[in-house]
């Protein structure tokens, strides 16, 4: 029973990270129809930024958010202006190949800059609480709180502000949005910036729970894709549920299968992904536009 409860706690912690990670992916896909295969690399970029400030300036990892957010936003904004804008109106194969090229580019640049050695951050917020035999690590709890706060902010931004309205309009019907005066180009650039900034923040959480290395991005991208297909595009509540579901699959396999469980968790992710794609092409909770509609 304790093992089961412990796994449940771990699931919620991991699910929180996945949920934050998937926001940016789902936002970018939903608004401009670009499936960003470099997504995991942006998580890693954020994680390296945190590690760099932590190691060389002695910053508390959570505090690096004040640097990570604007830097990643600016990076995403520029990238959209310079590159992604050219592929938005093209069929997705172009965006897949281009973002795949981008992912190789970023991963290898990171390797060149930081070498392949796995890096870990140090934090003063370590430690854990014990509740009835179940360990609750404090860092992961703060991770979860940060993730939920970021998601709430995004949700408010999309629903309560003029910018959010423009983003949703651009997602629903590009041409009509343009007609009523939404400047699609800048809305896309800002959306991409926000998506990458959120993804970079997920990198902070990543650096606090795992060693950071240049080539850990691809599995993250695949998980983001799996969760998005499960939960539907731009559906924040659904994304949270989907993330928890995927995290549960991984954690419970990792807990109950001895030794190789952690690696099998990743395999299970893809089995889940393929099964869902085949049985429920519209996503588990609806909301994912079928390919023809997009």
């Amino acid at each position: 029973m304790t093992t089961f409860l412990q796994a449940l706690v771990n699931t919620i912690m991991l699910g929180g990270f996945y949920a934050l990670m998937v926001m940016g992916f789902s936002l970018i896909w939903g608004v401009m129809g670009v499936i960003n295969l470099a997504h995991g690399e942006f998580v890693v970029m954020g994680a390296y930024l945190t590690w760099f400030l932590n190691r060389h300036a002695g910053w508390e990892p959570f505090a690096t958010i004040i640097v990570v957010l604007p830097v990643m936003f600016a990076f995403g904004y520029l990238l959209q202006r310079l590159l992604i804008n050219r592929i938005v109106d093209r069929p997705p194969l172009v965006s897949l190949l281009v973002t795949y090229g981008l992912s190789i580019l970023i991963a290898n640049s990171l390797k060149l800059a930081f070498t392949g050695t796995p890096r870990t951050v140090t934090t003063s917020l370590g430690g854990f609480w014990r509740v009835a035999e179940v360990t609750i690590p404090s860092v992961k709890t703060f991770d979860l709180i940060l993730a939920l706060a970021m998601m709430a902010t995004l949700s408010l931004l999309l629903r309560r502000t003029r910018l959010g309205k423009a983003i949703r309009a651009a997602a629903q019907n590009r041409r009509a949005a343009r007609m009523v005066g939404v400047e699609i180009g800048s809305v896309f650039a800002v959306t991409f910036g926000i998506g990458i900034a959120l993804t970079g923040t997920a990198g902070i959480l990543f650096s606090l729970t795992q060693p950071v290395a240049p080539f850990v991005g691809l599995p993250l991208t695949l998980r983001a894709f799996a969760i998005t297909t499960m939960s539907g595009l731009g559906n924040i509540g659904g994304a949270l549920l989907g993330s928890m579901a995927l995290a549960a699959v991984e954690v419970y396999i990792g807990t109950y299968v001895p030794r190789v469980g952690t690696n099998l968790g990743l395999v299970a992710t893809f089995v889940v992904l393929v099964v869902i794609l085949i049985t429920r092409p519209q996503g588990l909770f609806g909301g994912l536009p079928s390919a023809e509609q997009q």
């Binding site: 592929i87 093209r90 897949l96 981008l102 190789i104 695949l222 894709f225 893809f270």
Partner: protein
Amino acid sequence: MRTCTEATRGQWIAGARRVGLAVLLAGLVLLPLVAERGGREGMINNSTLFSLTQMLMLVTLASNWNFISGLTGYIDFGHVAFFGLGAYSTGILMSKAGWPFFPTLAVGAVSAAVAAVLIGRATMHLKGPYFSIAMLGSFAALREMARVTTPLTGGGPGLTLPPYLNRPLFYYLALGQAVLVVALYRWLKGTEFGLMMLGIREDEPGAEMRGVNTTFVKTAAFGLAAMSSGIVGGMWAYQNTFIDPDIVFLDSRTIEIAIASVLGGLGTIAGPVIGAGLLYWLRDVVWANFLEWHLIVEGLLLIAMVLLLPNGIMGLLGDRSGLDVRQAWARWFRR
């Protein structure tokens, strides 16, 4: 009169092309004879021969990939999985069971084909990007499988095969396979089977309505290409004498294959051959000086090519039978 001269001109070009191809082939066959061997000086050195072997393997892999992705329009980001199965079949059977080399190639080919049929049955129902990502997922899943089944695959530390440094043998094997595979695909493209594949690419529901058994055609093509990639994997493993999950299931191998095909011209038969040749020439001549940057340059190259040269070199040369990468999925996204 004018048509007559044009016809003669066409014949002349076709003849010149045939002669050129024959000269090229003869040159490739004779090449190892002038290579250095056992201390004897040669016109080309061993590393050139090695690099040519790698190039010929890339020609085969890119042709296989192009057969699936270029002809049926199913863009496959997980094809390297079948290469990996071949590599592991040879690796496991030679190092753990002491088999000789050639039978292991057959086992690799069969296991890759069986895996392709099983995976393909599931994933080929998916459309456009969903198929691509599901294949990328299958590829990553297989890599993890290779990592965890330590008793069989040696896990993360990998497997060491009995060393065998006969460069000309690998060269001839790779050359023979490349020639066979390209000739086979060229022939198949003109047969009814090839036309059915093109039909699937252009209009799958339409092809189905006209009585094409699309599931069978897709799965058969998928299995055939995977089988050939499995053989390449086996040869690569023996030549490299060492395999582990990360060097076999290498992400950048997928990108290399895709670059070779897109550069040459997706959906054309000569495209992957030209693309692979060019890629290797670029690597040797241009990137030899900045080794660490070469994957960065490759990533940039893929981006640039998709944006600037969507029909590839064959498209530039006027071959219109290929697939414009910009249109590959257009049908799934039409309103």
